[in-house]
Amino acid sequence: MAYSELIKSFGRIRVYLRSFYVYGFRHRDEFTEKSARSYDNERRRIESWLGDHMAFRQDADGRRVFLSVDSRAIPENPLYRAFRAKSFTDRDIMLHFHILDLLKVTGGLSVTGMMDELSDRLSEFDTDEMPDESTVRKKLREYAALGILKTEKRDRETFYTLGDDRTDISSWDAAAAFFSEAAPLGVIGSYIQDRLPEKFGQFRFKHHYILNALDSEVLCGLFSAIGEGRQLILSFHGQRRTALPLKVFIGTQSGRQYLLTWSPVRDRFSFLRTDRIDGMEDGGEPECPADLAARTEDFLSHVWGVTGNNSRRLDHIAMTVFAGEGEEHVVRRLNREKRCGAVVRIDDTHWRFSADVYDACEMLPWLRTFTGRISCLECTDKRVIARFRGDFDALARMYGGKSDAVP
């Protein structure tokens, strides 16, 4: 099949975009998932869509291609361009523009009426091949399902008219520009911006993880199932799990998104990364206990982030930090960054954070950010303390200090 810069489905390109953007050190021969020709085609497509953000380096092992983006410097996510590359047939595009134009001219048509009008229109061209009625009917139904068209019964016939379009989208320019980057499924906001004569370009975004956009199709399916209270059969890395999706957890520091699920069979809450989900099917309506919402809230009040499950025992963890005179910012940090638990003042210069969590190991990265201020660290899971201590000792040795310095 001849090369095209358009693609039929998003799955494969998602893998390449992710690799070019996150890793960027792999050479052509390291992309072993598909053939070298596949790699060449995908790289060429991405270059065609995102040429201004592509970078290249030549080293001893060959040429490396990577996406280099400072997301703080740009008003919109460049990865949204990949969503604008869906392939179509000659007939799709022909019907699209003629159908919308004919409905505007006539105010509404039945399938038969549309066939007559199309026949007139297309007779202007040398190619006399007409799309058959079932193709036109299918396209009209598809557009009605997308909301572009409305249907109404006149006598016994179904008439198609243009969909309601009463919203003044020019009043959405700044909101669409902001939420396209700062709300889930922002790619839809970028579609709305495409309709505006001019985009509002004076927002910038710090700590902005543009890669999550690649999971938009998955997220759309998850929101739909959460809203309807349907179970899903989720496929990820060759495994399948049947569970009720409850909430989407978005990381503003990790660059990852997770799905919180509840499994009726095991009566267990657990998390699953959305970028690992590569398929989903409807799993029906589960039988949920009446107190599921309350139990979910209770579970979440003991979760630091996105690990742990309710089959584990709770760990108690406590960290005391030192903050001298003029160092109130340290206490402010403790208060605004803690996601559960409590902070209490012990004396003039010491504050104690404590919490009961399902997996205290998950807190280690956050605890390390207080390096230089920790005067006491305790946890009922001794492995947590051992890991913290071992890692600090390694860090101290790495930078030329002595080890055995963690309280």
Binding site: S9, G24, D70, S71, F83, F88, I93, M94, H98, V105, R121, T127, G147, G163, D165, T167, D168, W172, A174, F178, E181, A182, A183, P184, L185, I188, Y191, I192, Q202, R204, K206, H207, I210, C220, F223, I226, G227, I250, G251, T252, S254, G255, L300, G305, R336, K338, P365, T371, G372, R373, S375, C376, F392, L395, Y399, K402, D404, A405, V406, P407
Partner: protein, 307 residues
Amino acid sequence: MLFHEIYGSYYRAAAAILGEAVRGNLTGRELQSLVREHAFGESLMTIPDGLKGERWRLMHRDLSTPLENEPSMPLTELEKRWMKALLLDPRIRLFDPDMTGLEDVEPLFTPDMIVYYDRYSDGDDCRDPEYVARFRTILQALRENRDLYVHFESGRNTQPKLVVTPYYLEYSEKDDRFRLVAAGWKRRWTINLSRIIECAFAYESRTSRLPSAETTAVTFDLEDRRNALERVLLHFSHLEKETMRLDESRYRVTLKYDRRDEPEMVIRILSFGSAIRVTEPERFIGLIRERIEKQMRLAAFSPDKAD
């Protein structure tokens, strides 16, 4: 359906071209320029051929079209549902969008479906009417290229009053805060909106030039254990960066960042512990070493010191 050709660049380019053709203004050069503006790098090889011939049957070779109206498409259900979802977001108060036509639309998602689990809890209060009024004044100044008079509380406990040229509103997802990036008095200002006491249009606009942010770089070696490679690269993925493989499990990463974010960068790097070893610059290594030494001194008077 999110991934659909009706939202695609080819359809968008074709709509722009056909619009010009309906108006009778289309030239060959204009056609090429619209393809470049709306589509991709290699689209010039396909869109003009598709449009001008018998394939798509939308335009004749003389660039006339049988279409009678400039192409337009009503909002899709998906777009309306996304807009409706935004109406439930407290931050929508900062804007004043038209809600007509969205009354009976089901939101695509609701706030209770989403948890920003690691977002700081002291973000801006978008429910405060005074905050909203200040935000809208800044937004209008940005639209109309007007200078602003701002009176604010600085991080150093002073309360400057000055006239600035606004350039951007910067939003941090982690902090849930807006900052105004502006120029004035030959310097670049980044002002937290929550710290602005008063803000109004200036009597005249002089349009100061915005000096570039001072960027700097840090390089570190990364040991890929406990999935550190992915965690680190994803965590810093929003920064401009370059990664090189050193051997089977070690990588060298260079990150560029705004010099004023250095304290934040130090603690972010520390959060990965010994998986990361900063190799340059010396100044940054010194900042890490300082924290380690402070921790060592602190350990000496810990009442609960183990062992």
